[in-house]
Amino acid sequence: MTTPATRATIDAIWRIESAKLVAGLTRSLRDVGLAEELAQDAFVAALEQWPTGGVPDEPGAWLMTVAKRRGIDQLRRRTTFERKQEQLIHEISVLERLEDPAFAAAEQPVEDDVLRLVFLTCHPAVPVEGRIALTLKIVGGLTSAEIARAFLTREPTIAQRIVRAKRTLAAVRAPFELPSGDELQQRLAPVLDVVYLVFNEGYAASRGDDWIRPELCGDALRLARILAALRPNEPEVLGLQALLELQASRLHARSTADGTPIRLEDQDRARWDRLLVRRGLAALDRLTALETPLGPYGLQAEIAACHARATSVPATNWPRIVALYDALATITGSPVVELNRAVAVAMAFGPDAGLELVDALADDPRLAGYHLVDTVRGDLLERAGRTVDARAAFLRAAERCENGAERGVLLARANACVD
């Protein structure tokens, strides 16, 4: 009955079990760093044994048992060395917990353990890059190699970020618990930001030649769905889920087969994924039913929904989008939001009205070197028929853009302006 397992099967099981495994271990060890290490040991054992011995009937329980046994071995060995007394006491207590027969209870993660884990991996004491790597690794079940590939960096870099993140969590003694009340709101923001940043890097890659990396979008969408399933009445969680479902619905329409970006107005809307649109609008309906003021993600989801509901760019409710950007700009104070608002104003009230806003933003030091300012200006100048100025703006934007595919489009648009 045991059939040899392929690497793909083991990776798949890991993706399914990893978060539950680390959460269960963290619950009883009260040490996420050690928990992650032991879970990795168990994964390595699976990679060694399953290809020939086959996948056990209960792979999750198998991984937990192996992790636990490794923990006991490792700690027994360690405590024989001379160590600081405090460390020794800690290790003995961990060992006791591992050897406790009641440890078996940890094999079934308690309700919300995965959520507790997310709050740990997205702890504000950890730098953003570390949070992203740790969350994708532990909660998303990705390997360091997969994360490195997704972020166009080397595997040791990712491993290093994870080690540092775990060290920070140990140093600040981050607890394995659910924040409540006001603290929940504060702690939720960095969690949602991590998911959003992962999605964005996949949706419009900041570096490299590929403009879109759909796997990264898929991982972020999955995390957003997990959060929404765990906290279905949290407005910003629903807002983020709605936003990502709606954005992801356009994924296939946003670039040509060879990876050239396609602007919203030129997209074939038949290629928008209707299932994702429906799911996004349904999440937005649930958010609306909560009757709470919209936060930044809820507002962005409403904006995305305006596009999703429209049959074409001219048929889009631009005045409503302007109003939503007004609200978003008030909450966030972000110049990037102001820039997007300028585009919406141009669509609603003509390019000159938009250009006025863009020019007012040009001196904002926070936008210095940001290529989208010139991209937007070029776009609006082109719409206003000022092709010479538009060309100059597109060329400036291309100079500042760090993504290969996007730069190509900007240069093409600059060249088209002299026609």
Partner: protein, 144 residues
């Protein structure tokens, strides 16, 4: 990748027999697990084939047969839509489902738009777009 999981029917689903409380509990727990893993993106149960029908196409003749269908392989009781990173992941999720008694459950990968890129002519694309836009499709046959 998106997968459709086709759950077969049997004498009970055909007779409209509702599952036992225990079966319902197990299936609910399983569904919850799928949702909390961010895997489940859709799914429905289907009425017995007695409420369905078949249309057979043959040289311009269309023959309608009312349900119930008799061949076991024709019975589908429901489906799930899952979003997974790989075919292997879909298989591993399915292996965790509370089925028994020789039930065979089928997993099929769902096409997405980009799979049709080679076949889609500009005309087809445009027709598709019209449909999505909610307009009435052009009913005139080509060349008519």
């Amino acid at each position: 990748m998106r997968f459709m999981v086709l759950v077969p029917g049997d004498a009970d689903t055909e007779a409209g027999v509702m599952p036992t409380t225990k079966q319902l509990e197990e299936m609910t727990a399983y569904n919850e697990e799928l949702v909390k893993a961010g895997v489940m993106i859709g799914g429905d149960g289907l009425h017995p084939t007695s409420k369905g029908a078949k249309v057979r196409f043959d040289g311009g003749t269309k023959t309608v047969t009312d349900g119930p269908f008799t061949e076991a392989k024709e019975l589908v009781a429901g489906y799930w839509l899952w979003e997974c990173a790989s075919r292997e992941e879909a298989i591993e999720w399915l292996k965790r489902a509370p089925f028994d008694g020789g039930t065979e459950v089928e997993i099929r990968q769902v096409f997405d738009m980009s799979d049709f890129d080679d076949q889609m002519t500009p005309e087809l694309r445009e027709a598709n777009e019209r449909l999505v836009a909610g307009e009435t499709a052009n009913r005139e046959r080509p060349g008519a």
